[in-house]
Amino acid sequence: MMNFIRKYRRRLLLFLAVFGPATITAMADNDASGVATYSIAGATLGYPVLFILLIITVLLGITQEMGIRLALVTRKGLGDLIRERFGVRVSLFIFACLFLANMGTIIVDLAAVKTTSVILHIPAIPAMIALIIISFFFVTKGNYKINQNIMLVSCLFYLTYIISAFRANPHWVLAITNLVIPHGVAITPEYIRNYIIIGLGVLGTTVTPWGQFFISSFAFDKKIEAGRLKYSQFETYWGAFLTDFFSFFMIVATAATLYIHKIPLISGEQAALAIKPFAGDLAGTLFAIGILNAGFMGIVIVSLSTAYAFAEFFGLSGGLDTNFTKSKIFYIIFLSQLLIAGVFVLSPNVSLFKLVIASQALNAMMLPFIFYYLLKLTNSHEVMGAHTNSVFQRRFGVVAVVVISIASLLALIFTLIR
């Protein structure tokens, strides 16, 4: 008996030791742009969008697992490997894709902070500036352990979405059954068109290009040993489940209120404001606090991932454990993204609502390129040794690349035709 407990405790400790990268990456998927996208998806499409959420969860789990396995087996990041195996051209191209997609996400995150701070009666511009400064100090001055704990604690804020969803009194049976088969709505051409474009947005906000880079470099920063691969793999699946567990409640909360009552969303962040009449003041306020927190998480993690990727592609020293002077370029890239986003959000002529779905769909459109190289690397015996992809992973990956490419093309065509 004692043996059993000892063994069990050892297992738990091992799991906790590697706990972090996958959960943080997965939870940061629910950044403010994520919340906005899920809200728009719930409000515009109702429960049927939950169907793709389940598939996306599997895709997230599988691709994140590839990422962490790649990092632990090779002791290199995705950026390192792309540069070393595919050269400068591919590196520059992928970095450009990543930078564009990330800029979009950071801008949306910051815009969400701006909008929600109004709801919470906090002055918007000082709030944004404060957030940028806090983010910078958080990353430059903090050490790895503290940062990770802050990130993990702020994940608790996501519980607010569950409360909001329950207060919205949703049709639970319809919600659950829609996970398996989409039904319960009138299927019109307009609906299908929206389903593809917004669905792509949901995909792009859940399975992100930056997530692929972040998980490998973060795992490396945490110095997880290759021997602990199994625990890390388990954590990635757990993280994927966790992130979409919360996404589920976000979609349910808006589907139960805004979609049912046919109230169009003018802005993703205004979901918080819009659900108040149906779900009560508390739910609305909690939703707003959740978005504020999600905005902070998103800004820090997404801009960090660009900097990580840059450091890997071009071989500079970088990472949370090195001090400021040593990885100057790393931090300059990190900060400049925050500043660009700040300037963008403060200029009044930008339609931020359109930007939400557009930026997340852009994220999704970059995925086939990144998956292509991720698959090439994780399929390669030369790179992975005994840890290459299983047949299922390989096939699932290829199908995902094809399906996402087709959906991206369709979304582009629909947008242009309009």
């Binding site: 070393e84 050269g87 520059l92 071009f314 071989g315 500079l316």
Partner: protein
């Protein structure tokens, strides 16, 4: 200076001008002088290794002679160097390898690594265009090169590109070491490298370079830059360089210099000195670089029977230019089939006809050698000065 990325993808032709395929990779022997051993040519997915000894010309295209043996143990640039991470002594990431610098004097070998942004631009074939655009705004982006001498070659065989020192020291290499390294490359290489240094550091490096390099460099600098550099160099060394330059150029530079410097330089230049031409001797032995030890021995026996002494044997290239030197002892230690270029010391120390005799003496003593070749601007040997020739002057100085 050749860049790896400029060569890759070029068509390789046989002697009969039949295309053999595209250049895919270059293999080299790891070591302090990483000589290129062979090139990998690919044609329709089929790779083929061709030894470098078969190489006839590298111009717009690459031409090779027919069939020779393969070489093992060689490392591949594409697999071991290009795009790989460079780390410093304690394992910190420094930068990645963006391109490789090759030199073809005396034999094709790797001389350094491009770690700068120019290297990335060159790889995507945009360097020339972007340089042209930047030059419109009078910006001349410096090349960031790392010399081969900075890399721990032992680690390279283990798959790591590790620097010999800590990251911060990169820009603070000792100037004499730098000059030593630069001596083994050609003058264009030096010029490009100097662009990445500040004036003071450039001056320190130039000071330690051989005279013929100094002359070539200063001929290419405009008068203002030349004057700036000369101000940073000690007066006697500066005068040596000035005297070696053409009169017009020298006068131009002198005009720009501050008055007190002008006066100091002037005084030194008019110093009573014995012209080198008067004391030098034409009793020297020069051989061609491809001659084998056996032939050189024969040559020496036949041609130097009337010599009073033989301190050094000079090596000339096909154009008759001085490219190396070795001592009789070094000669005796070699196998009789070894060609001269394999064991000679490249880029020997030289003086010019205009060099003040004090400087000649100084050099003989500084480098602890018994004779110095006197060359003209085309690097052709005019004669040599041995320690015997200057013994009178030495005696006068000491006694």
């Amino acid at each position: 200076m050749l860049f790896y990325s400029d060569l890759i993808g070029k068509l390789v032709y046989s002697e009969t001008h039949a295309p053999l395929g595209y250049l895919q990779d270059i293999l080299f022997l790891n070591g302090d002088t990483p000589r290129v051993t062979s090139i990998v040519v690919t044609e329709q997915g089929h790779h083929r290794e061709i030894p470098i000894t078969a190489l006839r010309a590298i111009n717009n295209h690459i031409e090779i002679k027919r069939g020779e043996e393969n070489n093992t143990k060689a490392l591949s640039i594409a697999k071991v160097l290009l795009d790989k991470q460079i780390i410093d002594l304690v394992g910190n990431k420094v930068v990645r390898v963006n391109d490789i610098v090759l030199q073809d004097i005396p034999t094709l070998s790797l001389s350094g690594i491009d770690i700068g942004f120019s290297g990335i631009l060159r790889r995507i074939r945009l360097e020339r265009i972007i340089r042209m655009i930047l030059q419109q705004f009078h910006i001349d982006p410096p090349l960031q090169l790392l010399s081969w001498g900075d890399i721990l070659t032992l680690e390279l065989s283990g798959g790591q590109i590790k620097l010999k020192h800590h990251e911060e020291r990169l820009a603070k290499i000792h100037e004499e070491d730098l000059a030593d390294y630069l001596e083994t490359t050609n003058v264009q290489n030096v010029e490009i490298f100097l662009k990445s240094l500040g004036t003071q550091q450039s001056a320190e490096v130039i000071k330690n370079l051989p005279v013929n390099y100094q002359v070539e460099l200063f001929q290419s600098f405009d008068a203002r830059k030349a004057a700036e550099l000369l101000e940073c160099i000690e007066a006697d060394e500066a005068v040596d360089i000035l005297l070696a330059l053409e009169r017009v150029k020298r006068d131009k530079i002198m005009k720009i210099l501050p008055t007190e410097k002008q006066a100091a330089f002037h005084q030194l230049m008019t110093f009573s000195r014995t012209p080198v031409g008067k004391i030098m001797t034409n009793e020297f032995c020069a051989v061609e670089s491809h001659m084998t030890v056996r032939n050189i021995m024969k040559f020496i026996r036949r041609n130097t029977s009337d010599f009073t002494s033989l301190g050094a044997i000079y090596v000339l290239n096909r154009d008759g230019q001085l490219v190396g030197v070795f001592s009789p002892h070094e000669l005796l230690m070699q196998d009789s089939d070894t060609p001269a270029y394999k064991f000679m010391v490249a880029e020997p120390i030289v003086v010019l006809l205009t060099t003040p005799i004090e400087v000649v003496v100084y050099k003989l003593l500084k480098y602890k050698i018994t004779c110095l070749p006197v060359v003209n601007r085309e690097k052709k040997i005019l004669g040599i000065i041995t320690i015997d020739n200057v013994s009178d002057i030495l005696r006068k100085k000491i006694l």
